[in-house]
């Protein structure tokens, strides 16, 4: 996965993501594609969660999956999550859960609870940073005011790091794939470098949902695992999603 939150030079915030999933779960040699990724693509739907006929939040989901991986609370915040691998992983959380230690939250139900119940970027950030989880994760959060964009790197128990947009430092966007931002990504799976190269080439003046879609369409940010691309603009309350393909030659991940 690749998630990006960016602020243009007028203070507009844009949030985009590629949802990549299905690694090592069966390769279709004939069609040069991942079996599960191809099965997930028809399940991609946009959901408008309403209460009293008012939109509470919107999300892009796989049908049948009630947790949240990509969502917007219109005019308040935008949220995506990327998978994080750690030895202290989900299997420990699941084991604890089965043994009756149930003080941790399932990741995608925390994101759903935050989208449904948090009323500000700061509140969302606090909950995502402090709630005990069953598995590690990256939460990428965009707000509705200048400078409100961050990557929260989570272990099961702690918030390990928070990287925020900081215009004074020239950091007008934050980009997360599936590696801790203070570490080099696995050289075989470096989607961060091309993603940042294209963001820098785009420049802050020209960033928009359109140009963010260009970045998310560039290989290997776009790869054989990419099921959908979602673009969100909090000030407009806008969420757009597109089912993707990656024509050969294309990286398997």
């Amino acid at each position: 996965c690749t998630s990006i939150v960016a602020e243009d030079n007028k203070g507009n915030l844009f949030h985009g993501r590629n949802l990549d999933f299905g690694l090592f779960m069966g390769w279709d040699v004939k069609n040069k594609s991942w079996i599960i990724s191809e099965k997930l693509k028809p399940l991609v739907v946009n959901l408008d969660f309403k209460r009293n006929n008012q939109t509470v939040f919107k999300s892009t989901n796989f049908a049948g999956y009630v947790g949240m991986l990509t969502g917007i609370k219109p005019h308040i915040f935008t949220l995506t999550m990327n998978e994080r691998f750690s030895l202290d992983g989900g299997y420990i959380g699941i084991l604890e859960w089965i043994l009756g230690k149930r003080d941790g939250m399932w990741m995608s139900f925390l994101t759903r609870s935050v989208l449904e119940n948090a009323h500000s970027y700061e509140e969302a950030k606090t909950r995502l940073a402090q709630t005990k989880l069953l598995a590690p994760a990256y939460f990428i959060l965009g707000g509705n005011q200048t400078g409100q964009g961050c990557i929260i790197t989570r272990s099961r128990l702690l918030s390990i790091d928070m990287l925020e947009i900081d215009l004074k430092l020239g950091r007008w966007y934050v980009l997360e794939t599936n590696y801790d931002h203070w570490e080099e990504p696995l050289f075989l799976d470096d989607r961060r470098t091309p993603g940042m190269k294209c963001m820098n080439q785009t420049t802050q003046k020209n960033i928009s949902l359109k140009t963010m879609y260009d970045v998310l369409s560039t290989k290997p940010v776009l790869n054989k695992l990419t099921t959908y691309t979602t673009l969100m603009q909090v000030s407009e309350g806008k969420l757009e999603s597109y089912i993707r393909d990656c024509p050969n030659p294309c990286m398997p991940w």
Binding site: P42, E116, A135, Y242
Partner: protein, 119 residues
């Protein structure tokens, strides 16, 4: 670049989405939170049940490839539900399951796949 890692120059003018990297738009559904869980997901799941069954079957085929005896599937279908879910969300899932086409344990596995996949 035609050798791994198949990078390319930064793309431009890709929006509005079109061409070989764009398979299709995504349909919208409303989930009415004023409705009981049993009614919220009906329209969506009715439209997507065939695709959902296909996806779950692909996971089962994978499980059979690893454990041909089918024990892994049994573990999911029989024990997973009883050990995993907090009541609130299982209510949601339970109602999805009531649309009679697939096993609750498989729907539960689908919904905790993030934690399972980190294994």
């Amino acid at each position: 670049q035609f050798i791994p890692p198949y990078t390319e120059d930064c793309r431009t003018e890709m929006y509005p989405p079109n061409g070989p990297t764009f398979r299709g738009a995504v349909s919208w559904y409303t989930v009415d939170l004023d409705l009981p869980p049993s009614k919220r997901w009906t329209a969506l799941i009715t439209d997507k049940k065939t695709d959902l069954v296909n996806m779950i079957q692909a996971i089962k085929d994978l499980a059979y490839a690893f454990v041909p005896s089918g024990r892994l599937i049994e573990l999911v279908d029989i024990t997973l539900v009883s050990v995993i879910f907090p009541l609130t969300f299982s209510l949601n899932l339970y109602y999805i399951f009531l649309i009679p086409f697939c096993n609750l344990g498989e729907v539960v596995l689908f919904n905790i796949f993030y934690e399972v996949f980190t294994v």
